[in-house]
């Protein structure tokens, strides 16, 4: 959490990205520093030869429909070609391949889909309409990264408590967000409809880039509702500008009183401060709009989608995508940078 409780008086401390990366640095990173064994944290070893991989090879083209019989072959491929981005796809019944001089193509459409991990994507740029700092698009700073931390925190608990998942692996993408890999065995074969049900349970903001309509939460979803109040109220009150509260008629003085109650740890009293004429659900909706997780549902639902490979370098930032245990306290600057690794 930031030390400055007054969001109206905050100057952004942007994360500085140092993106100029040479092809040689990329090759060196993948040949000398990329630990292929770390992939087993999220990928199943037995099905590795039937896993699809995709690559953006320096500025030339994007290619998918690639499988490797051994993990060492994948590492070798990434060490030979300068890889701007590496992705893992789904598992299929057979290895896939692109067209070569010797063989015709055998793509993901020619074989049976077997499974794909359940993955959630959080991206700071999806918060553009509500960020309280001056960041836009790919920029992130300590203030808006707090949104990522809150989102991860609330999603982690929802996935563990409401869905009962046990094996969650959070990954910093190297860019502007997090991926959450759910590795419980039963999730591998969930179909699109099941994944859609799951993400829609958690997705409360419709059309995040447009009208941002907030979905109503039925009283039976008591766990989710309670969680939102418990986890988001403090930061929402402390880190959201006064003019946002004015949207629903909460004046500066009332908000200042809310801040005081939070400082005194009297969280339950926050609701009492809301003027009687303002329905409580308006406050709740505002909090959801400004603070709740914005999940890129396409990444979760699409069972054939490619997802950035943990441990690979994010070309636009130079940061290495890495596993993290505590997404609620992680900052991008904590991540390893290719410049520091390769010198």
């Amino acid at each position: 959490m930031t030390d400055n409780p007054n969001p109206d008086d905050q100057s952004d401390k942007k994360v500085v990205f140092k993106p100029s990366i040479s092809d040689e640095q990329l090759k060196t990173y993948y040949s000398d520093h990329f630990d292929i064994k770390l992939l087993w944290k999220v990928l199943d070893r037995e099905s590795f030869p039937r896993r699809e991989f995709g690559f953006d090879r320096t500025g030339h083209y994007f290619t998918r429909n690639k499988s490797f019989s051994q993990p060492e072959d994948l590492k070798e491929y990434m060490s030979i070609y300068p890889i701007r981005a590496a992705y893992a796809g789904a598992i299929y019944a057979d290895p896939v391949r692109t067209k070569t001089k010797k063989y015709s193509a055998f793509t993901i459409h020619d074989t049976e889909w077997v499974g794909r991990e359940l993955i959630f994507d959080l991206d700071a740029s999806d918060y553009d309409p509500v960020r309280q700092c001056s960041c836009k698009g790919r920029d992130v700073c300590e203030i808006c990264w707090g949104l990522m931390q809150d989102a991860a925190l609330i999603m982690d608990e929802t996935l563990r408590i409401d869905f009962g998942f046990k094996k969650l692996q959070w990954v910093f993408t190297g860019g502007r967000g997090y991926h959450c890999w759910v590795l419980d065995k039963e999730t591998l074969t969930l179909n699109q409809e099941q994944r859609s049900g799951l993400v829609n349970y958690m997705q409360l903001i419709n059309d995040p880039g447009g009208d941002q309509r907030i979905e109503k939460i039925n009283n039976d979803s008591i766990l989710l509702k309670e969680r939102i109040f418990r986890m988001l109220t403090e930061r929402f009150v402390l880190e959201t500008k006064a003019k946002v509260f004015e949207e629903i008629g909460i004046k500066k003085t009332a908000r200042a009183t809310m801040v005081k109650k939070i400082e005194q740890k009297l969280y339950q009293k926050i609701i009492d401060i809301i003027p009687q004429k303002i329905p409580h659900n308006q406050f709740f909706d505002l909090m959801v709009k400004y603070r709740y997780a914005r999940i890129d549902h396409k990444v979760t639902i699409d069972t054939r989608r490619l997802i950035r490979l943990p441990g690979s370098v994010h070309y636009h930032t130079g940061y290495v995508g890495q596993y993290i245990d505590n997404p609620e306290s992680f900052y991008p600057e904590d991540a390893k940078h290719i410049q520091d690794i390769t010198g």
Binding site: G54, D56, Y61, F62, T63, R64, N65, A85, Y87, T98, K99, A105, T107, H109, I119, D121, D123, I161, D162, F163, G164, F165, T173, G174, G175, R176, G177, H179, E186, L190, Q192, E193, Q194, S196, G197, L198, N200, Y201, E215, I217, N218, D220, S221, I222, L223, L224, D296, H297, K298, V299, I301, D302, T303, R304, R305, L306, I307, R308, H314
Partner: protein, 475 residues
């Protein structure tokens, strides 16, 4: 746990029925489903002997089984059967004893539905108290009574059911129930509609399974035809009306062949045409869907038989005559020359989404994205390319949200260039075709050297392709 006698998926000991009886049994079930017979539970009626009771129950179930066979070759009957059987199931399940309900739930869900008490045991936590299904005092009283063996019949107490989240994706979206450790929790009463929906889903699957066997099992095909004939009787015919089948137009002539018009066809039919061209095989209901479409757009039966003979891969070694006589059953059926001699009309989008093939309901999102990208690639004018890309995003977004009707509406705009702010919702393939015909294609496609539009099914020369934001996580 024994299933109740009325449960339609229950096995009947002696299921061999003579032709005369088939008609009576079928008609009896139709009357029951249509409310022409009392729908009360069998157990509430008075029977002289247990045998009499079982005979009546068995006859009901045999009637249901025969209707399933008929439904396998007639989607109108299938739609009606699923709807009315679902309604009957709902009423009967609701009125069943706790033990009967348990047996049915066990049959329908197996381990994926358990009692609230069982969930409490598994989680080692009293979920009934936690989520206020019972208060702690009541819970304690129940435990004491059970421990002292006084509480045997639990009737009168609220039954709480837990269903695994994987079985109820729609319910998850609505957040209407408590979700805890991957189980949605509710009283059996509050979950009735959810259970009914799952029953209907299983019934649809069983009808489709029979459909897949129709052509390879001529006796089954004959049986299906004769039951459909019974259903044409004047006292049963008016009763078989699905709720969601209506569209003013039943016939639209195409200017030229289907292949020449492929881009203005509803996307679901485009998919099927591509699929049959590429693989030579469609599933039972897909054949029905394409077959009826070809008929209602003006293809005569002889031409259609020839179409399938040329496309299908399972007719190797068969002469055209042999094919027409044997495997052409479905086509002749579509033209009203088999079974109930019904001249079929095109099914609505609702039926298609339920049983057949809908581009935006049944295709993978990635496949939809690729299809749109391929069409955009074939557009020559940059401005058009740009505007189509915007619409393509909407289509993909609706597909992700499983809102197939909206996605189809945007696809029509994508193809025709009609960018009106509120285009009509598409509910029928012929509605789509009429509008697409009226407006026409908005763009000209790049032509292959042969002069034909590029085949969307052709893989690109080199599978390395420009990066697409639709394919990867953009993080």
């Amino acid at each position: 746990m024994a299933l109740p006698a009325w449960f339609p998926f229950r096995k009947v000991e002696n299921s061999v029925v003579g032709e005369d009886d088939q008609k009576k049994l079928t008609k009896g079930r139709v009357m029951l489903l249509s409310g022409k017979l009392p729908q009360r539970l069998l157990k509430q009626e008075v029977f002289e002997t247990h045998e009499e009771f079982m005979t009546r129950a068995d006859r009901e179930i045999l009637g249901h089984g025969l209707l399933r066979v008929a439904a396998a070759s007639d989607m109108k009957v299938a739609s009606w059967l699923v709807e009315t059987e679902g309604d009957l199931f709902y009423e009967r399940f609701k009125a069943s004893l706790k033990t009967e309900k348990d047996a049915i739930l066990d049959y329908l869900y197996g381990d994926l539905a358990i009692s609230g008490e069982e969930l409490s045991r598994r989680l080692d936590e009293d979920v009934l108290v936690k989520f206020h299904f019972v208060n702690p005092l009541e819970q304690r009283r129940r435990k004491l009574l059970r421990d002292s063996n006084i509480l045997r019949d639990r009737s009168g107490l609220k039954d709480v059911l837990a269903i695994r989240y994987t079985q109820v994706p729609d319910v998850l979206k609505q957040r209407k129930f408590v979700l805890y450790h991957g189980w949605i929790l509710g009283t059996t009463e509050s979950l009735l509609s959810v259970i009914k929906k799952w029953f209907e889903h299983l019934l649809k699957s069983r009808i489709s399974e029979i459909g897949e066997r129709l052509e390879s099992t001529p006796a089954l095909g004959r049986m299906s035809s004769s039951i459909l004939e019974y259903l044409e009787d004047e006292d049963t015919k008016p009763l078989i009306k699905p709720r969601y089948e209506s569209f003013g137009i039943d016939h639209i002539e195409l200017d030229g062949s289907v292949e020449e018009n492929v881009l203005i066809l509803p996307p679901c039919l485009q998919d099927l045409i591509h699929k049959v061209n590429a693989t030579g095989y469609l599933t039972h209901w897909e054949r029905f869907q394409l077959g009826i479409f070809l008929k209602v757009t003006g293809m005569p039966i002889e031409e259609q038989l020839r179409y399938w003979y040329n496309k299908a891969v399972d007719n190797i070694g068969m002469t055209f005559e042999e094919f027409s006589n044997r495997a052409g059953y479905i086509i002749r059926h579509i033209y009203g020359m088999e079974g109930g001699k019904i001249d079929y009309t095109m099914p609505s989008c609702k039926t298609i989404q339920d049983k057949m093939h809908c581009t935006f309901k049944h295709n993978n999102v990635e496949t939809v994205s690729k299809m749109l990208a391929d069409i955009i690639d074939m557009i020559e004018k940059p401005a058009l390319k740009e505007s189509r890309t915007v619409i393509a995003r909407k289509i993909v977004s609706n597909t992700y949200q499983f809102d197939a009707n909206k996605a189809c509406r945007h696809f029509l705009s994508f193809i025709t260039g009609d960018l009106s702010s509120s285009p009509p919702v598409i509910s029928h393939p012929l509605q789509y075709l009429r509008m697409a015909k009226e407006k026409g294609l908005v763009f000209e496609l790049k032509m292959a050297p042969s002069g034909e539009p590029v085949n969307l099914e052709d893989p690109p020369e080199d599978t390395s392709e420009p990066i697409s934001s639709q394919e990867v996580s953009d993080d």
